[in-house]
Amino acid sequence: MTQRHALGAAHIGVAVAAFGVASCMGLLQAFSLADIPFPLRSEELYYISLTAHGVLMALVFPIFFIMGLGYTLSQESLGRLAGARVAWAAFWLGAAGAALAAITILRGQSTVLYTFYPPLQAHPLFYIGATLLVVASWIWGAVMIASYRAWRREHPGVPVPLSIHGMLATVIIWYLATAGLAAEVVGMLVPWSLGLVKTVDPLLARTYFWWFGHPLVYFLLLPAYVLWYSVLPQVAGGRLFSDSLGRMVFILFVVLSTPVGFHHQFADPGISAGWKLAHTITTYAVLYPSFVTAFTIIASLEVAGRMRGATGLFNWVRTLPWGDPFFASVALAMIAFIFGGFGGAVNAAYAMNAMVHNTAWIQGHLHVTLGTTVALTFMGATYWLLPRVLGREVRFPRLARVQPYMWFVGVALFSTSYHVAGLRGLPRRVYSGSLTGDLGGPWHTLAQLAAAGGVVIFLSALTFVIIVLTTWASGRQIEAPAFEFAQALRPVSRMGVWDRFGLWTLIAMILVAAAYVYPLVTLLAHTRYGSPPFQPF
């Protein structure tokens, strides 16, 4: 391992370990939902594994990957990491927090799913472990900002490299988002789980959760965009089409990603229809930067195809390096996002939401967006990062070439089946797709198709984990290749309005306040009745 990237490598190692464990659990769930018998199948195992899968896949795996990516990019693009010792302390803190929470889940003491809505109550160490993980990520954010400021002092007036611009946007979104999470977990759930307060208001907690829960998605997505903008055009052999629009995109996410949470609460009481509409408007607005990204990235790939000699209208597509695991992963991730993005627009429309809310459609949607757009990009990026941070050649390159396609095929089958099942009313998160009602539903075949997709996804995940482990342990030692970032067709030479992080953060904070203060005050002004804890698991 190159000493310079030990920190990044350690984080990616934890991320891949969490991913591997969570993948096994995903397979169990798909089988259980399809009523395919297997040894040890039980309600308890299903809901424990559902909790573990969500916490590991939606939080531990991406948070650790993003922290590792951020440190690595800071080393390479800024040539420094301010406070490496603090960053190591944060690594151990975050790993300990994740382990504590995971132990209480696997012992069956915290079967509350990754949304942990009270009054379901987990073990206190579940909440405390999660808090430690978030505190670790806050320290990561501070290290990223400190590294940027140290670089800025030496480079006044120079625009920061786009990769760091995007990571800083990620950090800002994370601070805005986790303010809501801290209010819920530290302000309500930790004291309640320790018995210091007797009751909590479940709706208030839910509102704080979704203050966090949707920008979480952009915290996960933006590092993927960083890789699309700053690495993909280089790997494809081209140029980034527009650097300045990339900066605009990241800033629009900073401004728009947090004041949107009520679109997860359309079906909730206690929030007026007018405020739900206000959050709907911002929800559609935050789709906009993704449309701009689609143009910029596809234009960059066309530039790459032309630089590789393509001359026709569309034959540049064929000249792209589809056999490169990083390229293939990202390209497939982007195709998935076409469906995921429009699926999101469907979810945000009231009438459609009434049909799909909390149905299997949602797990279909999540596996296209987070499960493919983000996770497949991160897997592809791991193939790109490993030789550079470990100084080792990736083992089984042929398998690595196939693995992204397996993932895509598996998810296509899995998610299409669940989207359709959801439209037909199958509730999400159920142990058995037949439920136990007299009437049942026409879901059995769809659940079995989804399980078949789940098998393919699992095999792809297994392939990925084996490649990473064997590369780490026994990849041929090579001189670490250089980190080459995409050059822009039209480089930005001077700082512009999109480089003013302080200003945009302030605007984002004002928007968050505008979106939440009035509805929260209205809610708090009512006579409210708290709930005691329940542990029906």
């Binding site: 079967t111 809505y117 839910r206 079906a267």
Partner: protein, 159 residues
Amino acid sequence: MNVELYEKIWMWAAGVLLATFLGVIVLMAGVEAVQPPGHIETIDPATLSRDPEFAKPAVKVGSDGSVTVPVVASMFEFSPSPIEVPASRPVTFRLTSSDVIHGFEVVNTNANAMAIPGYVTQFTVTFPQPGEYLVACNEYCGLQHHAMVGKLIVTREAR
């Protein structure tokens, strides 16, 4: 900022598309009253068993013919069940929970809302098709969550 012509066309087109999406939602909210539940009403979950409306929840038909259905969701059942309502008339559900958060989804209809302890969720749905419908809990509420089902019967004639 230097933006190329094709880029500009794309950016405007994306803006128009999103504005159209939003416009349809706002229009339907205004004209057809397609609204999410927006009702704020609190209730003590500990005293539901003594509440005049929710102690023994039952379908009520008002003197003006309006249909109101109070529903209590609790681990792991809905009360009342079966619920019997007339077809093609607005039915107002008043939904709450006596313990944890539950979902109330009438499969293959637009009735889909959360039951949150301490709150009453109120929404109105019209069922055009008579028949028997499955009511499913669609929010995880414990180890028997999947088994939490009820029945809604939509009857042909107005009562």
